[in-house]
């Protein structure tokens, strides 16, 4: 049979933004998938060169509009490293709590979108969306903004947690724990789900390492690498957690890693609240920051919900001389062709879903 080329996207219900794929099909089998990216490119790295350090976070946050806090924090941590500032312990705990809340929100959204890619008619999507909103409410309470927080300041946060934030957060966590168990039993008891997830889109351990994927995609392939554990930052050393690692490398493992990560994050937040010391976590006001040392080169990496976020900064006094980002979704997208080749056409979309792509993150 002759090969057929199909152009999917950039406007398509399940390309998670603006992703264009040129898929070569042999009958119903995928021969090649060629991602074309760049529809959402805004040149954030270049924009950063013309702005003061703390004017940049609003741009950075829009790179990954699902896990804003993770991007924001990674960037601010890079600037802190360039200036040699270390946030105090309470600020570190608060940042960890916010980051883990953001991870939960991101994974919840992913869960709904994944089920949609499998052909579910928005039910789980709406449920997880509502639950995610509870987490966003918490983040709003803590930061004042629902979506784009711009909450990180050098040496701390823009503002201290409100008084009864801890109680609200623990309430929501209890609720979420119950809901996650419900989702798990609802989704995994479905034989159709198993059929479409088990042993579909397998990424072997070696391939995962060679392709440079990170985050849940990497850990689902049996590589025990989590930046929080391997290059610990903040108070992750003091918190007792272990990275979730599964060994099949298929769609189901990637799904399961994220579900277990939500549970682990819930545990982490509870522990962090227990350990959190008193003090003041407020960071420097934007106007008062010192100039950074000239030509200082720093590289900071963080474990975002999608994988390893890395910032490379060549500092100038008032603004970055050069800012380069390693966004996780871009690298994970590179593995798509490798995973999808040889699969059926209908499996392509669950595979894209399981990689958890955010196209703004890919295109920067």
């Amino acid at each position: 049979m002759s090969l057929v080329k199909i152009n999917i996207g950039p406007v398509h219900p399940s390309t998670h933004g603006l992703l264009r794929l040129v898929v070569t099909l042999d009958g119903d089998t995928i021969v090649n998938v060629e991602p074309h990216v760049g529809f959402l490119h805004r040149g954030v790295e270049k924009l950063a060169e013309n702005r003061m350090y703390m004017q940049i976070p609003p741009f950075i946050e829009k790179c990954d509009y699902v896990a804003k806090m993770a991007m924001d924090e990674a960037y601010v941590a890079t600037v802190e490293a360039a200036m040699g500032i270390e946030p105090n312990e309470r600020a570190q705990y608060e940042r960890v709590i916010l980051l883990e809340l953001q991870r939960i929100a991101s994974h919840l959204l992913w869960l709904g979108a994944m089920l949609n890619d499998l052909g579910h008619f928005f039910s789980v999507f709406m449920w997880t969306f509502a639950d995610r909103d509870k987490v966003l409410k918490l983040l709003e309470e803590a930061t004042g903004q629902r979506m784009f927080y711009v909450n990180m300041r050098l040496g701390g946060l823009r503002q201290e947690f409100p008084k009864d934030f801890e109680y609200h957060a623990l309430d929501v966590l209890t609720y979420l724990e119950k809901r996650i168990n419900e989702y798990e039993s609802f989704i995994e008891n479905s034989s159709l789900f198993k059929e479409r997830m088990y042993k579909v889109g397998v990424l072997s351990r070696d391939d995962a390492i060679n392709l440079g994927v990170s985050g849940p995609v990497l850990r689902a392939s049996g590589v025990n690498f989590d930046v929080r554990k391997d290059k610990p930052y903040y108070v992750y050393k003091k918190l007792n957690f272990k990275p979730i690692v599964l060994y099949n490398g298929d769609n189901f493992s990637r799904y399961k890693v994220r579900i277990l990560e939500i549970k682990e994050s819930i545990r982490l937040i509870r522990e962090a609240f227990k350990q959190m010391p008193d003090g003041n976590a407020t960071g420097m006001p934007i106007k008062l920051i010192n100039p950074a040392p000239k030509n200082k080169v720093v590289r900071v990496s963080r474990e975002g919900p999608r994988g390893e976020i890395m910032f490379y900064l060549v500092a100038d006094e008032q603004r970055p001389y050069r800012l380069a980002m390693r966004t996780p979704a871009f690298i994970n997208l590179a593995a798509l062709n490798h995973i999808a080749r040889g699969n059926k056409f209908a499996n392509l979309f669950p595979i894209i879903g399981s990689l958890d792509l955010v196209m703004a993150d890919v295109d920067k």
Binding site: V4, I6, N7, H12, P13, S14, D28, L115, N116, D117, L118, G119, H120, F121, F122, S123, F125, M126, W127, A130, S190, L192, F193, E195, R196, K344, F345, A346, N347, L348, F349
Partner: protein
């Protein structure tokens, strides 16, 4: 004499047309509301009481849209197939009896209905082919695949029913259920029939023809708004037909407590429709290569077992 019969036929057509249209409209509204409730949201609320006029507004909105023809589209084939689909679907509804109100009571009426029903996927395939869109083309192939996977089990169930009743007339089939529904006499057959009809009606988990996360809108991808509206409407009418035929063949039709009446048929039809919506709200789409396995191994085996059990029991 002839005039009277003609008037009767026209009367019946008008009543059935109104019923089908009303049900299609109601089905569209109910689905939005019911699935919405299932997903912890409200569904349409703005237009009319409980958003009852929302579908009407959508209808007019789609009518005002521009009709764009793709360059390579086969216009004639497209138009012929889309109107044939609509016509045949309406014709199917016309053949259904409502209590003592029917147009034809032939002993082969059920076979006629299902022969027309199995003709629809071919028309849909033609329609998908005519728009020369690759997604529509894949959808057309899938349509044929669904046809060959589900048609044989479906007809085997019909044969079992015909064997039990000694007739393919729907009226006699319903009358044979006056004591016990066929749902209890042949539960396996009911399962097979339900699955096959879900596939015919493009409902999850077999909505492969218009799998929206894969094929955008399947065979309707390049269809312009007015024809899309027509197809959508036909889709609802087909759902009405499916729900009605299930309640006629397996749920005792118009038989019920407190006297036999067409109201029972309506209640049962609505319940079946709700059940179909419920499946839509919770199920995941089946993968295309599993459909063949499911059709040819699972459903075929089950339908043969069903036939054999009916043969033994009779």
């Amino acid at each position: 004499m002839l005039i009277n019969e003609l008037i009767e036929i026209i009367e019946y057509f008008i009543v059935m047309l109104i019923t089908a249209f009303a049900f299609a409209y109601f089905f569209g509204w109910l689905e939005r509301k019911f699935v919405g409730k299932f997903q912890r949201r409200h569904g349409p609320t703005y237009l009319g009481k409980f958003g009852l006029l929302q579908n009407l507004a959508d209808f007019f909105k789609l009518l005002t849209k521009e009709q764009v023809w793709p360059k390579k589209a086969d216009k004639l084939l497209f138009l012929v197939s889309v109107f044939l689909i609509a016509g045949f679907t309406l014709y199917l509804v016309m053949l259904l009896p409502i209590y003592n109100f029917y147009i034809i009571n032939s002993s082969i009426i059920l076979l006629l209905i299902f022969i027309i029903l199995s003709f629809l996927p071919i028309l849909i395939a033609l329609n998908g082919y005519s728009s020369s869109n690759k997604f529509a083309m894949i959808s057309a192939q899938r349509s044929i695949l669904l046809l060959i996977s589900f048609e044989i089990p479906l007809f085997l169930v019909l044969i079992a029913i015909g064997y039990y009743v000694h007739s393919y007339s729907i009226v006699s089939i319903v009358n044979a259920q006056s004591n016990l529904w066929f749902l209890f006499i042949m539960p396996i057959g009911f399962f097979v029939f339900l699955m096959a009809l879900l596939a015919e009606m493009e409902r999850t988990p077999f909505d492969l023809r218009e799998a929206d996360s894969e094929l955008i809108a399947g065979w309707l991808t390049d269809t312009g708004a007015p024809y899309y509206m027509l197809a959508l409407f036909v889709d609802y009418i087909r759902s009405f037909f499916g729900a009605a035929i299930i309640s006629l063949l397996f749920l005792g039709g118009w038989y019920g407590p407190f006297g036999n009446s067409f109201i029972w048929l309506f209640i049962k039809t609505i319940f079946v429709a709700l059940f179909i919506m419920f499946i839509r709200a919770i199920a995941i789409r089946m993968r295309i290569d599993r459909i063949l396995y499911f059709g040819w191994i699972v459903l075929l085996a089950l339908s043969i077992i069903n036939l054999y059990l009916v043969y033994l029991g009779y």
